[in-house]
Subunit: 210 residues, 2 copies
């Protein structure tokens, strides 16, 4: 089942702008993103869902003119925290205490250690860590799109500083990590449509040590 | 279906070493890892599958003594390329040409640009990029484990230099990124067993710009 979905999906280069992804499918993908596991449960990223045409045209211009940015129904922008802060970590502690009932002293024991580890690090190191967590969610989002039979394209080909500027991300303490337009594959104009999926032979992926 | 699986999984802290994951389930998880999308199809990581008891004891000692490292059936170590090289990129070009039939001039047009971009960058920048790709696969591997009804724990709590040393990764041009023991949850000894999954309210995850 999962393999079938993963084989169905591909990095769609040409989307048909006349076919619209139903809102319920977007919601299902968002829900999967929110269920993605992250380090210490911090979920150190946000996702912007952009349908505004002017903004999408501006973003396309700083992303190698990739057409899916404007031809998709929804453009998702994964944006990671620019740094870890005590406030950001405390929100997780408070919510976990409230929702799960874990005693605060237990949570503080764990998260105080985390703060002692994270807070002295540079913003760049913490951002890099947060960005990795967003990639866990990206993998799950792409999988969720396939389950919804919606096409999606993971994109790194853009100028992150320009995207941050266009979307005002830095003021919110965020930095763009990856784009993911979701829409429907066009029936022509994409040399990847129907192309064989190329993957490493398992002998180059896996080493077993028994 | 997917949501049900994502809700079922959790970062299992206590595994029952007497319950063994069947080989076929490991194979299904590996296959999903290999199907994970990666930037430009490079798949810039490998996965070690460790069942050797001595090695697992050594790894546990440099990973905060986390018991799943030795109580799991299989310990997966995701190890990213330490750098991009022309040889590594050329292997992908050759394989894609062979398996997909894409003309070499088309592939070289794309991958020569990629080389011009990647090869002058520092090894650290390239490793950071490769590590992010491994996190896409980690997200999909955790999802695949849930579909196989196998427990798994994403782990960053280890000394990466020590893990690299124990497994001889640097000599192979690899660096450890994350550990993922797979096994079966113990019925006691884990405060996370049965705990409510805590996730951001969607209002803190999602911003829509229409």
């Amino acid at each position: 089942m999962l393999h079938e979905k993963l084989n169905w999906r591909y990095a769609t280069k040409a989307m048909d702008p006349s076919k619209k992804v139903p809102r319920a499918k977007l919601d299902a993908i968002i829900e999967a993103i929110n269920l993605a596991p992250t380090s210490s449960g911090l979920q150190p990223f946000e996702v912007l869902v952009i349908t505004n045409d002017d903004l999408r045209a501006k973003l396309r211009a700083v992303a190698w003119d990739q057409a899916q940015i404007t031809d998709s129904t929804y453009l998702l922008v994964f944006a990671a925290w620019d740094n870890y802060t005590a406030e950001r970590i405390d929100r997780v502690v408070t919510q976990t205490h409230k929702e799960r009932g874990t005693p605060l002293e237990v949570l503080n024991g764990y998260y105080d250690t985390l703060k002692a580890n994270y807070l002295p690090r540079s913003a760049d190191v913490n951002y890099a860590h947060a960005a990795r967590q967003a990639y866990i969610a990206l993998g799950i989002a792409l999988t969720a799109a396939a389950f919804e039979e919606v096409d999606a394209t993971p994109m790194e080909g853009f100028d992150p500083d320009a995207v941050d500027e266009i979307l005002g991300l830095r003021e919110k303490g965020l930095r763009s990590v990856t784009l993911m337009p979701i829409g429907y594959r066009a029936q022509s104009g994409d040399r990847l449509l129907g192309a064989k999926k190329v993957r490493k032979p398992l002998s180059e992926l896996i080493t077993e040590i028994a």
